[in-house]
Symmetry: C2
C-alpha cells in the first residue's frame, strides 16, 4: 500500500465518521479501524487530529467554493453585467447541494459541511478567514447589484439566512423526512435546489419595513 493510499483511506473514513458522529466524538482509533490502517498513521501523515480535520474539510470546501465562484462568473458573463437574483442564489446553493447528490446513502460530506458552522473546534476560526472571506464579498456585491434598494446590513442578514437554510438542510434533512412522514426527502436533489432557491430569492426580494412603521 503506497503512502497516498493510506492518506486517502484515512481521509475517506474520517470524513464519514466526522459527519456521522461529529469531531470530538470520533476517535482516531475508530477512524484508523474503519480505514484499515495503523493507529499511528494519522499522526505520521497529518500531524494531529485537528490537522486531519482541516484536511478533511478543505478537501471538499475548497473545490466547492471555487465552483461557486465559477458559476457566479459564468452567469455574470452571460448577463453582460448583472445576473438575475435567482442565478446568483443558485450559484451559491447549487454546488453545495450537488455534493449531496453522490452522497445520498452515507451522507458523510453533506453532514460535515452542514455542521462546520455550528461546531467550533479551535481550527474553525482560521478556516473561515481563509476560505470564506473572499466568497462572502463577491456574493455580497452580486446580490447588492440585483437589489440596489437594500441597505448593506439587510443584505448581510439575508445572506446569513440563506446560509442557515442551506446548512440546516445539509445536516438535518433526515429530520424533515421524519416530520413530513416521508413526503420530503433529499432523493431528488434538483427539486430540493429549486425549492431552496425559490424560497431564498423571494426572501431576499422582500421589501424593507421602515423603522418607523416597524417600531410603532
Amino acid at each position: 500500500m503506497s503512502s497516498s493510499d493510506t492518506k486517502q483511506q484515512i481521509l475517506d473514513a474520517a470524513e464519514q465518521l466526522f459527519g456521522e458522529e461529529g469531531f470530538t466524538s470520533t476517535s482516531l482509533r475508530a477512524i484508523t479501524g474503519a480505514a484499515g490502517v495503523n493507529l499511528a498513521a494519522v499522526n505520521y501523515h497529518f500531524g494531529s487530529k485537528s490537522e486531519l480535520a482541516k484536511a478533511v474539510i478543505s478537501r471538499h470546501l475548497v473545490p466547492l467554493n471555487q465552483e461557486r465562484l465559477r458559476r457566479l462568473d459564468a452567469c455574470e458573463k452571460n448577463a453582460k453585467g448583472t445576473a438575475s437574483l435567482e442565478e446568483v442564489v443558485a450559484s451559491f446553493l447549487g454546488p453545495a447541494l450537488d455534493l449531496a447528490r453522490e452522497d445520498k446513502q452515507t451522507a458523510g460530506v453533506t453532514r460535515l459541511l452542514g455542521r462546520i458552522y455550528s461546531e467550533q473546534p479551535p481550527f474553525i476560526g482560521e478556516l473561515f478567514a481563509d476560505e470564506f472571506q473572499d466568497l462572502v464579498e463577491r456574493f455580497l456585491h452580486a446580490i447588492e447589484a440585483c437589489l440596489p434598494e437594500l441597505d448593506r446590513s439587510v443584505v448581510f442578514w439575508r445572506m446569513h439566512f440563506m446560509v442557515g437554510s442551506m446548512a440546516h438542510t445539509l445536516c438535518t434533512n433526515n429530520l424533515l423526512t421524519l416530520f413530513s412522514s416521508g413526503h420530503c426527502s433529499m432523493q431528488d436533489i434538483d427539486e430540493v435546489t429549486q425549492q431552496m432557491v425559490t424560497f431564498v430569492a423571494a426572501g431576499m426580494r422582500a421589501p424593507v419595513i421602515s423603522k418607523v412603521e416597524g417600531s410603532r
Copy 2:
C-alpha cells in the same frame, strides 16, 4: 446548600458550557467545577451526563414551545380564524429570539438551542418526538391556512428553511458580526426578529414554479 440549589447550579453551569463547547467536549468535571459542587453530584441528581443534557435542554425548550403555541393561539383568536402569515411566523421565531435577549453576554441557552438540531447525541431523537411533533403540526396547519395554494410538501420545505435560518442565527451570529465588520449583530433583538420574519414570510409566499417549467 439545599438539594435544589445544587441542581440549579449544575443546570446553570452545564447550560453555559454545553452552549460554548458542545455536549461531548464538556466534561462533568468542568461543569461541577464551574458550579462549585462535587463531581458526584451530577450522577446523584441526574443519573448520567445524558440525562443532565436532557434536563438542560427541556428546561428552556418546553416553555419556549409553550410560548410559541400561546402566541399562535392568541393571533388566531384575534383574527377570528386565519391569522396573517407574518403573525404566524413571528409566533414561531419571536419566542426563540427572545431567549437571546437576556442571554446576550453569555450566549449559553442561545447557542445550545441553535445547536440541538445539528448535534445528534443519542437522546436527541426522543426529544424531537416528545417536544416538536405537536408543534410542527399546529404551525403546518396555520401556514397552510395562510397559503392554501401551496402543496403540503412545499410548506414542509419552507418551514424547514425557516428553522434553518433561526438555528443558524442562534448559534453562529458571531460569524455574521465578523463578516459584516460589526454592522450586523444581535444587540437589537427586535431588529433581528423583524429582519428574520420579513425574510421568511416573503420566502413562504414565493409562487411555486411548475415542474414543467422548472425542468426544461
